[in-house]
């Protein structure tokens, strides 16, 4: 539409991600490296699923719309599964790397914990996924026109931006939960992560009824976010302490010499 829409949608889609990056990741070079590696792994999964998609589309019957729709659903499911597989692969790689790093480093403690790695890798996945979702649309939002001349909804750009924000946050939360459940060998929670990813992706088939896809997605974001919060060591008590500004006393209390 114009520059204002371009900037508005960019900030909506990438606002939380940029904030997280600025405050938590940018200062630590090790975290930046793992973020980019996470993004690369997501890219690999995309490449694989693109390859399969390309081949199946070429050999399919291009005229039949039901076949194309079925192919699309198959493609979505395959891509989700490949993304989670790549996430698992990244986890395994990071475990091995951590042991290696520990052996090499002079200090006795690991420079970065597995929980932080979970968060960083999830965010990396989210960044890359958001970029691929949104950059194409942002490029066209700069022009003078908006969607709708062929009957599409006018709110295409805005809803794409909100969806992208949700996906980025979700990838971050899924990363945390995924790594945590792999550490604790809770395979059922792994399955829940995969299922929720599938659910969110399939919800987008509701588009262009954007309400039908965005509202459930944000509910899922909230729920998975809560779960990730508890997995990573948060609790209601801590939250209350922080919010009522009694945290300083808590810290002092906890730092009594042992």
């Amino acid at each position: 539409m114009t520059a204002s829409v371009f900037f508005g949608c960019t900030f909506i889609a990438f606002g939380p991600a940029i904030a997280l990056f600025l405050f938590t990741i940018a200062r630590d070079p090790l975290r930046v490296i793992f973020l980019i590696a996470g993004a690369f792994f997501w890219l690999c999964s995309l490449l694989l699923s693109s390859l399969v998609w390309f081949i199946t589309v070429q050999i399919s019957n291009k005229e039949s719309s039901s076949q194309q729709k079925g192919l699309l659903i198959f493609g979505v499911v395959l891509s989700v599964l490949l993304q989670e597989t790549c996430r698992f692969g990244y986890y395994k790689l990071l475990k091995k790397a951590n042991e290696g790093l520990l052996m090499l480093s002079a200090e006795e403690t690991m420079p970065i914990s597995i929980r932080q790695l979970a968060y960083v890798s999830g965010l990396g996945f989210g960044f890359m996924s958001g970029a691929f979702s949104m950059v194409n649309i942002l490029a066209d939002s700069v022009g003078p026109g908006t969607t709708g001349i062929h009957g599409d909804s006018q709110h295409y750009f805005l809803s794409s931006a909100f969806m992208t924000m949700a996906i980025i946050l979700l990838h971050m939360f899924w990363g945390v939960v995924f790594f945590d459940s792999c550490e604790k060998q809770h395979w059922w929670s792994l399955a829940v992560v995969v299922i929720s990813h599938l659910l969110v992706s399939c919800l987008t088939f509701q588009n262009p009824q954007y309400v039908g896809s965005l509202v459930p997605t944000y509910i899922i974001v909230f729920l998975v976010g809560l779960w990730a919060f508890f997995c990573s060591g948060g609790s209601l008590r801590n939250l209350k302490l922080c919010l009522t500004c009694k945290d300083k006393d808590f810290l002092l209390a906890n730092h009594r010499p042992r």
């Binding site: 204002s4 829409v5 508005g8 949608c9 960019t10 909506i12 606002g15 939380p16 940029i18 904030a19 600025l22 405050f23 998609w53 390309f54 589309v57 291009k62 719309s65 729709k69 493609g75 979505v76 891509s79 006795e108 403690t109 420079p111 970065i112 929980r115 932080q116 996924s129 691929f132 979702s133 949104m134 649309i137 490029a139 066209d140 022009g143 003078p144 026109g145 908006t146 969607t147 709708g148 001349i149 062929h150 599409d152 006018q154 295409y156 750009f157 805005l158 794409s160 969806m163 992706s201 987008t204 588009n207 060591g233 948060g234 609790s235 801590n238 939250l239 922080c242 945290d247 906890n254």
Partner: protein, 714 residues
């Protein structure tokens, strides 16, 4: 955006309008169009557009200009002149893109929009039915470059006695700072009107609901001010590709002598006297690429081509006292480019003859729209004050009038004090007082109600064919217009024969062929990709295929530095070659290099390889080599050779260059929605910054429930 293969998954988990978007996506990917499905959702590209471009001369710039990133405006379909209030003052969403039908494309409406150009983003014209009269040219065409200047005769200058084009409104010579485009009446216009009716109609006087249908036109022209400025800005360094900002207009004149001269020997030829038979090739319109010029130019040169054919058949044997030159001048509309060039070449010994060799001139002007059974003979009163010139002109008139014996019309001389209409003959008179006559169907002002406009087409000449004929049958069908032009051609051929000193007894055997005339009219005005043109054409290029299915456009175009004439010039060259030349038995390689053969000479003749017919039982064309005296002579204004870009003597017309020209339609959203989006975005960004800052400073408290061993860093 460059094309992407169908395999790229962009934003994979996010689906939009499923089936249609996939179909569109795949269809466009496979049809080699830019594979960007988001842009397909937003824009509809318009492909069949003709822009109004910028032309410059020594003092002015005319035409239209858009801004460099295109002009966007909300579409408004104009219903009447009173409706103009909406885009100009009342409408709440300026700027507007005004869509006009041809009946509303008048000078008063265009001038009103020009004066309110802050609210008008552009104009789109949809030509429909022809108005009763419309001529965007000036009332006195070529008034400063003809022979009638203040010094020549004060009373006759600036059309003081006769206004030749009284219907002219001068629209082509105005300058607009918004783009003006023309659309063909077809599917795209329907899409635009549908979009307008869906989104832009005012409902019960209330405001319009966003989103509104809008159009964007790109036609940014690089040249400004005048020719001297743009030539100065074109950097002519010694690199291989000079950066030009504008191009001079020009082309090639087509010339053929009945008895050819050695083409390398320029200058005066002793004891040679030449009669020049001239006609104009080019025409013009407000939208340059829509020029058709049926009555303005096609009628004249088709008649001359038919006369040339008739004369050449009759004059194979008898040598005559005088030679005849058939000259088809190009670029005459733009201040006589072709004829001024020929006169300049003759004066400077750069042509095979010079002005002393010219005995008389007979020019065929507009001859197709007769208002009776008379054609009129125009002559120049000033030069006729000289007795020798007067006697020669009288002799020519006598020859003309006696040539119409047995034909259904007659020649009538015009009033003695009336000047010549705009014609190439005027440039010859500027150099020397040569006797001559201009043939026309009008006695005083033009009969042509659509002089130099895009309505001057086949319908204007009443070229009607019975509806049950196939295109091939239409090609052969002899229309009434063709019959009347054939008679004119016969009279012209007989006159030229007599002027050249031919034997009077042979005269009545000279007759033009009506079949040739009707085929030429069909080819030039209805459909140029017909079997006759294909037979006569060059096998090297299909010159007319590009503008299918419309007739080719006839404006002169830019003078290209390579030897590439435009489509019209090639058609006329090959036609003249086939009608006046002789077929030979040479093979294709011999045709390219005929000098090696004993009887052939490239000094006198040119050799063209003609496609030929397909015989009934085979698929291969029988091509052959034609030996002809037809030559193409460069027709670029002498002002560019002399470097005098402010010349008052010669044409200084140039056409601006541009990068791309396109048009597209889309919907625009309201400003409020855009600002809301920006506001929400900024709010989200600030909120997330705040929350993240809060969380990251309190992270050791928030995430403290599970303590990992030996962990101190977060």
């Amino acid at each position: 955006m460059t094309g992407r293969g169908p395999g790229t998954i962009i934003g994979f988990p996010h689906k939009r309008k499923l089936v249609t978007s996939i179909k569109l996506f795949l269809f466009f990917c496979l049809s080699d169009v830019s594979c960007n499905s988001v842009a397909q959702k937003i824009y509809v590209e318009l492909n069949n557009t003709v822009p109004c471009v910028r032309l410059l001369n020594a003092t002015h710039q005319i035409g239209c200009q858009s801004s460099i990133s295109g002009d966007t405006g909300v579409i408004h379909v104009l219903e009447s002149e009173a409706d103009l209030e909406w885009p100009l003052s009342k409408g709440p969403n300026p700027p507007y893109m005004v869509l006009l039908e041809s009946s509303l494309f008048t000078k008063s409406i265009m001038m009103k929009m020009k004066n309110a150009s802050s609210r008008v983003a552009g104009v789109v014209v949809v030509p429909k039915t022809s108005p009763p009269e419309f001529s965007p040219h000036t009332t006195c065409p070529n008034e400063n470059t003809g022979v009638y200047t203040e010094t020549y005769d004060h009373n006759l200058a600036h059309c003081n006695t006769t206004v030749w084009n009284p219907r002219g409104n001068g629209l082509s010579y105005e300058e607009f700072d918004f783009p003006v485009f023309s659309l063909k009446e077809d599917n795209e216009t329907e899409v635009i009107k549908q979009c307008y009716f869906d989104h832009n109609r005012v409902v019960n006087g209330s405001g319009l609901q966003y989103p509104l249908c809008a159009m964007q036109l790109f036609s940014h022209m690089h040249a400004v001010t005048d020719t001297a400025t743009c030539m100065r800005r074109s950097s002519m360094d010694f690199s291989t590709s000079p950066v030009m900002v504008c191009d001079p207009l020009g082309g090639y004149n087509v010339c053929a002598f009945i008895r050819p001269y050695n083409s390398t020997a320029f200058g005066h030829k002793e004891n040679e006297s030449v009669v020049i038979a001239a006609a104009r090739l080019d025409s013009k319109a407000f939208f340059l690429e829509d020029s058709t010029g049926a009555e303005g130019s096609v009628s004249g040169f088709v008649t001359l081509l038919a006369a040339a054919q008739a004369l050449c058949e009759a004059t194979q044997e008898a040598p005559r006292t005088r030679n005849i030159l058939f000259a088809f001048f190009h670029g005459e509309v733009f201040d006589y480019i072709g004829s001024s060039r020929m006169v300049y070449d003759m004066k400077n010994n750069m042509f095979v003859i010079d002005l002393d060799n010219v005995h008389s001139i007979l020019e065929i002007g507009q001859v197709a729209v007769r208002s009776g059974t008379n054609l009129f003979l125009h002559s120049d009163p000033v030069s006729r004050r000289n007795n020798t010139v007067h006697d020669e002109v009288t002799n020519l008139v006598k020859n003309l009038q006696s040539s119409t014996a047995g034909l259904n019309f007659s020649f009538v001389e015009t009033d003695f004090s009336q000047p010549l209409p705009p014609s190439s003959f005027q440039r010859f008179l500027r150099a020397r007082a040569i006797p001559g006559i201009v043939l026309a169907d009008h006695q005083t002002d033009f009969n042509n109600r659509y002089y130099e406009s895009f309505y001057d087409n086949a319908a204007h000449l009443n070229l009607t064919y019975p509806s049950n004929l196939s295109p091939e049958e239409q090609l052969e069908f002899v229309t009434d217009t063709a019959k009347s032009l054939t008679e004119v051609a016969t009279a012209v051929a007989r006159t030229l024969f007599k002027q050249a000193g031919g034997n009077n007894s042979q005269v009545n055997k000279i007759n033009a062929d009506p079949k040739t005339v009707t085929q030429m009219l069909y080819g030039f005005l209805v459909r140029s990709n017909n079997s006759w043109f294909q037979v006569l054409g060059s096998s090297l290029r299909c010159v007319f295929c590009l503008s299918e299915p419309n007739p080719p456009q006839y404006y002169v175009g830019v003078a290209k530095s390579s030897h590439q004439a435009n489509a019209l010039t090639y058609l006329v060259q090959y036609l003249l070659a086939n009608l006046t030349g002789t077929a030979t038995n040479l093979t294709q390689s011999q045709c390219k290099k005929p000098d090696e053969l004993p009887n052939e000479s490239t000094y006198l003749y040119s050799y063209l390889w003609v496609q030929g017919m397909v015989p009934p039982n085979s698929t291969q064309r029988e091509s052959f080599c034609v030996r002809t005296a037809v030559r193409l002579v460069k027709a670029v204004s002498p002002a560019f050779d002399l470097g005098d870009y402010v010349s008052k003597e010669y044409s200084t017309w140039t056409k601006s260059q541009w990068k791309f020209i396109k048009a597209r339609i889309f919907l625009v959203a309201s400003r409020d929605l855009e600002m809301l989006t920006l506001g929400v975005g900024v709010a989200v960004l600030f909120t997330s910054l705040l929350v993240t800052y809060f969380v990251s400073t309190k992270a050791d408290v928030l995430f403290s429930s599970v303590r990992e061993p030996n962990n101190a860093a977060y």
